[in-house]
Symmetry: C2
Subunit: 829 residues, 2 copies
């Protein structure tokens, strides 16, 4: 590689644009478009008796009103079940507009198109829908009780039952020296991106083609869905993901009802139509995640080694299963983390409720799995009186055991085999970073000052870079610009920077010459999408492979121009020259001219290229057999299986003895995503992930009442951490390159969020000495836990064993260890 840009903390190239208001988000587009609005169900479960649109018809500026009856053919069919699975015996999806029955609050019933959004909302408000309410199923316990059914034809509200096992877990547990059994509970949360969903469609009647902008994580799949629904060839549907203000998973679902309806109406009306989700809509009509109950049985030996583990996962899937059962599959497989378990059985039961659908949110089932495993490790340590970190270490897969086969089937249907890693070293580093071994002294010093602090740790493994493939296209134009495109989309992760680094490094060009396009089907038509921490691994490697083809072609052509052996050439600063000798060189922009036997007279570079007497002999074709004109290449990366990143987090928290307020004093992350393309971008991802994890650990929940109304469907009521609640995050890296891909990289997008609930739970438990089995842990919840513990000694852990943070008790001043933390009394929230 020529220029040293791979692995450097290059500043994010998109930030200049995004931070100065020059981003082009969906609602920045189509300012003259008609607006769509939706009448949505106010009931969690009801039969639609009548829809009376007459009141809307005299709204000036109204263009159209559609109900399910108006949707022709495939437009009106139920939405697809994206990822079928044999275990999902009772998969169900909704209609683009509700037909007969609504099954959650927010389900779209009527679509209104009007001159602008105000008028569309006014018209929507005048539409009278008569409902016959039906009993709502809310909460996992209610769903399991199955007094009422979400779908008449789904007995017991059970969509899927899936068992995975290695060995005989029940027997192993029964035979183990020690056994524990407990239930864990994880609340619902949601991706909650700054920008909600949005679709803007324009039909080109001249061309018979459709352009759709969607704030999506999967533009090629949205294209395929729209094409299928509208009966258009893929080639007549262009889907572009413009700047997207965060996705975190919710925008990988496709097609959303609105992604079908808005393009359909745009074609029908031959008018541009736009719909942008408002915040309340996002809360009730997009998707949630996380909600699970886990029943754990574990057997272990005196050293804390797990001999058998049995987990029954009750998963709340909401009203429909458009995305299949990928989340509980991930929970049940990734739960094992860095550990080798004697025998394992996981049973997933996926349950319907009359609540918003549940689809992947950053971490996608992993935070629940890690919460389960790490709570279990802590329980074992407390039970045996061992150091919590030591118990983890006792269970680790060792560095010499890779590739390590967990004996399960992963989310991609392939064997769950870890490719590389060094978990002991991760733990060693995070212990050092957080000061694990000196923590007892800190705790005691704090206690002397009336403060209650605790320390927690969590280790996890994350399958990243899931297949089946991603492609990259690289073209060097006659101005020397390098155009890199890949089909997957960007939601602010820094792809423009990272992909440009990869291309610049592979090609030997200045990074400023590299222009990256993502998520535009006009530029790259085959893609899977941005999710599962796969963008850098998949598209990064595909782009690298494409660059290598372009580089090879460039060296061949330049070799002819310079009359040199291509093997002796290298590329520096965008010019090809003999290795180590820059006296004679040919710029890549000139190579681009030379690559095309059709020379354009209006191209400045063509004149420049004439100095090189390059032309194929008159006895041969101008384009050689097997060659193509142009200095471009395409590459696909398709891995045998996922690559496994890992990390260890540790935190020190303080709990207020009076108010039960919880503050994170320190947060340390040691992260291993293989070779780092850009440590600054990875750290940014970690920071963002931890921040979302803090939300999940302490604040975020979806408060449904028993009738299925979401009581906190606004940012006034739904608590997210502000910068004041998120600690400074201390990071360190480990690099165990992946042997599976040319760049040796692993995904990093979700990492930060995964173990946070587990780590905070571990630390609060340590601070309070009370068993933490449910997240999020609000002051209310902690207060209630204290109250309950006062009557139930079984909820106390410290008495049983005073382990955790034990060891050398010579720690320094508490104040020094809690840099930047405010005393609880001074914290705003």
């Amino acid at each position: 590689m020529g220029t040293r840009v791979f692995g450097e903390p290059v500043k994010r190239r998109e930030d200049a644009r995004l931070l100065t208001g020059r981003g082009r988000y969906l609602d920045d587009l189509g300012r003259d478009a008609l607006a769509a609005a939706f009448v949505r169900s106010p009931h969690a479960h009801a039969r639609i008796v009548d829809v009376d649109v007459s009141g809307a018809l005299d709204v000036d500026g109204l263009v159209a009103v559609y109900t399910w009856e108006d949707l022709p053919g495939r437009v009106g069919e139920p939405l697809p079940l994206l990822i079928p699975h044999p275990a999902l015996t009772h998969g169900r999806t909704g209609y683009p507009l509700a037909r007969d029955v609504v099954r959650h609050v927010g389900e779209p019933v009527v679509m209104v198109v009007a001159r602008d959004r105000y008028l569309a909302e006014d018209a929507a408000e005048r539409i009278r829908v008569e409902y016959e309410p039906l009993p709502a199923v809310v909460g996992i316990e209610n769903a399991e009780r199955a007094e009422y059914l979400v779908h008449d034809d789904v007995p017991g509200n059970v969509g899927a039952v899936l068992v995975q096992e290695t060995g005989d877990a029940a027997a192993a547990i029964d035979a183990a020296p020690h056994r524990l059994e407990f239930r864990l509970s994880i609340e619902r949360s949601a991706s909650t991106p700054l920008e909600g969903r949005g679709v803007y469609a324009r039909w080109d009647a001249d061309d018979g083609s459709l352009r759709v902008y969607s704030s999506t994580q999967a533009s090629t799949s949205v294209r395929a869905a729209i094409a299928a629904r509208l009966g258009l060839p893929n080639g007549k549907v262009e889907v572009v993901a413009p700047d997207v203000g965060g996705g975190f998973g919710v925008k990988i679902v496709h097609p959303w009802p609105e992604e079908v309806l808005v393009p359909w109406a745009a074609r029908l009306l031959n008018r541009e139509i736009k719909w942008t989700e408002d915040r309340r809509e996002h809360f009730v009509a997009a998707a949630h995640e996380r909600g699970q109950l886990q029943d754990v049985r574990v057997g272990f030996d005196d050293a804390g080694r797990v001999l058998g583990l049995d987990v029954r996962i009750l998963h709340d899937h909401g009203a429909y299963t458009p995305y299949g059962i990928i989340i509980p599959i991930v929970t049940s497989t990734q739960l094992l983390g860095p550990y080798k378990i004697g025998a394992y059985r996981a049973e997933v039961v996926s349950l319907y409720t009359n609540t918003l659908i549940v689809t992947p949110y950053r971490g996608a089932g992993r935070p629940q799995g890690v919460f389960c495993m790490e709570r279990t490790m802590d329980r074992i340590a407390r039970h045996l009186g061992l150091d919590r970190a030591d118990v983890r270490a006792a269970n680790f897969i060792q560095p010499d055991e890779f590739p390590y086969d967990q004996g399960l089937t992963f989310q991609d249907g392939r064997p769950l085999i870890y490719d590389s890693g060094d978990y002991p070293e991760l733990l060693r580093k995070v212990r050092a970073l957080i000061g694990w071994d000196g923590f007892e002294a800190e705790r005691e010093a704090a206690a002397r000052r009336g403060r209650r602090i605790g320390i927690g740790v969590g280790v996890y493994v994350e399958g990243t870079g899931v297949g089946p493939y991603e492609g990259g296209h690289v073209e060097i134009d006659t101005a020397g610009r390098v155009h890199v495109s890949t089909g997957l989309t960007s939601q602010g992760q820094g792809h423009e920077t990272v992909f440009a680094q990869i291309a610049a490094a592979e090609l030997g060009v200045p990074i400023r010459d590299v222009h990256v396009t993502t998520g535009d089907t006009r530029r790259f038509g085959y893609a899977v999408g941005t999710f599962a921490s796969r963008a850098a691994v998949m598209s990064g490697n595909a782009i690298a492979l494409a660059c290598r083809k372009v580089r090879e072609k460039a060296l061949r052509i330049a070799g002819e121009a310079l009359e040199a052996d291509p093997r002796d050439l290298e590329i520096t600063d965008g010019s090809v020259h003999v290795r180590g000798d820059r006296s004679a060189s040919v710029p890549l922009r000139t190579v681009a001219v030379l690559s095309n036997p059709l020379r354009y007279a209006f191209d400045d570079e063509t004149a420049a290229a004439t100095q090189f007497a390059v032309g194929r002999p008159a006895t041969e074709p101008p384009v050689a057999e097997g060659d193509e004109p142009g200095l471009e290449g395409r590459g696909y990366y398709s891995p045998v299986r996922s690559t496994f990143a890992a990390g260890a987090h540790a935190a020190i928290v303080e709990t207020d003895p009076d108010t039960a307020e919880i503050a994170i004093l320190r947060y340390a992350v040691v992260h291993d995503c293989g070779k780092l393309v850009n440590p600054m971008v990875v750290e940014g991802q970690i920071h963002g992930g931890v921040a979302q994890g803090v939300g999940g650990a302490l604040y975020e929940r979806m408060v449904y009442d028993e009738s299925g109304q979401l009581l906190n469907a606004s940012f006034m009521d739904f608590l997210m951490p502000y910068a004041t609640e998120v600690p400074r995050i201390e990071t360190d890296h480990l690099e165990t390159p992946s042997p599976l891909n040319p760049l040796g990289i692993k995904g990093a997008g979700e990492a930060g969020v995964i173990p946070v609930s587990a780590v905070i739970a571990s630390a609060v438990e340590d601070a309070e000495g009370l068993r933490v089995e449910a997240m999020p842990l609000s002051p209310d919840a902690l207060y209630e836990l204290r109250e309950r513990a006062s009557g139930d000694p079984g909820l106390r852990v410290r008495e049983t064993a005073r382990a955790g943070g034990d060891g050398a008790a010579t720690g320094g001043q508490f104040a020094a260890g809690v840099s930047g933390a405010l005393p609880p009394s001074e914290r705003g929230r």
Copy 2:
């Protein structure tokens, strides 16, 4: 090949659309766009003293007015010289809007943009341009005299002098037993498509991209030109050629001033803008062709074999040379036709005049060259008293002499080597078809009835399928539709049909499943363009190569699905099955699903595909190394050199002894374009070509007065043949496959037009017994020739020799030989 469609007279698939008014021509697009109009020079040569736009400014609806001073950077630079040539020492091009000096009537001076075309024209009329007239150079003799200069810095008005020779022509002529020397004159004509030029541009500010529709023959090159001028990457400029109502060469020039200015203003104003050329504009602001004077010296032996030929070609290039000197190069090289000439020298002198630019028009210099060669053959025959056909036969390259090297450099810069042909057989067939050997009896029978008829013949060779390349892309989608795209454009030739035949034949699919896109840079970005009878040869073969890749991939995947060896499989009616056994088969639409490891749940075919247990082993990547997802392939065809079609035409004409009116009684064509893809389409091309040739032979001229005003710049004054003037054309085919390309085909687009002037001249000369040395031959011209001949016996040919149509004198009734012809007195024109 599965289905038998290659070589069949499949009806044109585009006709149902085009003939029922469903074509989408440029002016059908952008109905809400702003309109552009141009103030054009009324002077052939003048200095611009002042432009006063103030009068236009109060036109309601005016949006913008631009003069050259308003054009920034490269937008205002002179237009490119598209095909530079070392001999073109003084190439000159105009500015998009005139700067200081105008050099022909019609040159654009001011651009006006307004709400609609009416307003734009109104505003344009109010703009006052003050000119200082300069002396105009009109006509080749005036240009050569160089009393005045078109360009101050081009001495003698000579843009280029190019000599090509084989052997010592002067010496060979001087030593020959017989010598002749004469001057020939060919008038100007023009492509005159039914639809003029037009550009419609829209800027997408959201996307930073430009969509340009242009009625062009070269959308990729227009894209490159606009991108270069506007400083945009190619990828941000989409150029689409919609339905185009004829091109015939004039639309291959690029960029036209309007193709730069309209997109530039559309971006600047961020408004859609359209300009469509009106008929007068087309006459004075597009391009002409043909105009040449040829000074011929020829030496030959007693058998009429040409021992030496020297031709000096004075070529009228008009005011600028944007397309280089390709026309006279073609004239001077293709002039040799099917003959082997002892020694040959051609000198091309390209001259500037203050008239519209001269760029290729169907035939592109060949009609002039064939006129020269065939007039020469007739002169030799008359001189020696030999049969005109026999003299041609005596000079033919023989079928066993291929590949035959003419020893010259062709228009593509490669050696002029004919690949295949059978000229004696062509001549034999056309003699039989027209009844050459029985013509004297017909003539005498006619003479007895007071009618004067004559017979003529002409043979030509046409280099077709010029490189450097063309590409094709073929994709089979999951509905089984076959999407074929190629970069070159269509102007009504029947590409949709012919390319679909090729794809259907190669793939074994029903032709109704094939959808062809041409000239859309969004679909295929590399192309050269549609000209030089190259579309079928170049894109046809590229598409065939692409199909073969797709077919190979389809058989491989189907082989896995059917558990059969791909070599045992074939495709019939869009389904793959074991050869000769259709009991088990897999439809291509299912193969398309299987080709992409990402299966879409919303695709009906995906469900159908599940019956085939195809999936790559879990130990291998989902996309195999070197493979790509999708059932598609791309192919490029890049020939070593051009392939040479040929033909022989013969005609019987009748001239009115009183009015000098000329009627074509019969017209016979024997044509060899190698393997026929679709004889009906080829015959349609021949018919259209002959019709245009009849125009050039008898009617069309550009009547410039001495000040450079085009006096007949309308269809009221410019004569074109109607259906009443074009005879029924009798055709026969010969197929000498080209060994240069996989399909064995040769181009056919220009063929019909090439020898018509020569054949009509030959026949009129034969009827009148008067030497015909200038075309077109109007009744006026023939009458004048008769007058001159009455005082100059040297203009008479019949006295010298009564050859031509001699031989067996036993022909039948004249009336039988002139099927469908009216007596001159009853003809309308």
